[in-house]
Symmetry: none
Subunit: 153 residues, 2 copies
DNA sequence: GAAAATTGTGGGAAATTATGGGAAATTGAG
DNA sequence: CTCAATTTCCCATAATTTCCCACAATTTTC
């Protein structure tokens, strides 16, 4: 599984093309791996996966039989909603589908944020306010995280 | 088994023809594979299978003995009854039978959604509301998924 | 600090894909 | 058997996407 690192500011051109900074590009497993999957994030952002990691994620979903229940089917749909294949062109850009640009409110200035095996794509301004947190809230969040992590076990 | 990726907006023309986006078409196992099966979905949508995967599905059904119960027989009958062979024409379109269009409430704007080895076909508006979920419901669904996945084993 | 190499940005042309319409073929009813 | 209706097949145009080239900007090297 890939583990991306870093945070990168970049630009979308008016055709909706996002050029991937070479430092990030270098982190992809294979030079040959030039197909990515973009998806809507739970927040107002997009998420990039390598094809391999996307297939791993969805394999977990697909292992569960659709006959089982309507809720299972619904969950699968919600989880995979918006997925799009994109190809990296020969100058390291991907064309982001218009629908997804709208969803995430992406205009020109965007931020790519590594998050495990995923890369989040945020509008710069939204990202700034998402990160805008004071120390009280941060420690509340940490407590919550700790609690829920242990519940999950 | 095929694993399709992506969500695609497309249009039905007034003859009921659905053109398959090239990105999706490229995911079919063989260029020669130009016969698909459309069936009713459990929700108000349709489901596309490759011929091969459809045969797998029906094999699973037929593995269950008809002697077992009337409900088994009834389910098999109803499930199989909606299935239709459709052929991909030379510009990558399939003609969806009118009965199925009605069943899924398909008008002009539709969405094709990859779901494992199947492709779901939704009316755009219905699909949007299917995906419209608040965070409380989402976490309930996630829990349910987690639970049922483990039950299924 | 200047030159070279790499990377980022923009735009245009070519190829591919989508879409609509019409003609030919097939089917079914009378 | 004939006519009407539907279906299949094919072609033309519109729209989109992909590919390519040129230049700008940044980084690296000497």
């Amino acid at each position: 599984m890939t583990a991306f690192i870093g945070e990168y500011n970049c630009k979308l051109d008016e055709k909706g093309r996002l050029s991937i900074p070479s430092k990030l590009r270098g982190q992809f497993p294979e030079a040959a791996c030039n197909i990515l999957i973009v998806n809507r994030g739970f927040e107002k952002c997009l998420v990039l996966y390598t094809k391999e990691d996307w297939l791993d994620e969805t394999a977990k979903l697909n292992a569960v039989d659709d006959f089982m229940s309507p809720d299972i089917r619904r969950f699968k749909r919600i989880f995979t909603n918006g997925a799009n294949l994109v190809q990296i062109d020969n100058v390291q850009r991907v064309l982001i589908p218009k629908k997804l640009l709208e969803y995430a409110g992406l205009k020109s200035e965007v931020v790519l944020v590594a998050n495990g095996n995923k890369i989040e794509i945020w509008d710069e301004d939204l990202y700034t306010s998402e990160l805008n947190v004071d120390s009280t809230e941060l420690s509340q969040l940490a407590q919550l995280f700790h609690k829920e992590r242990n519940q999950g076990k």
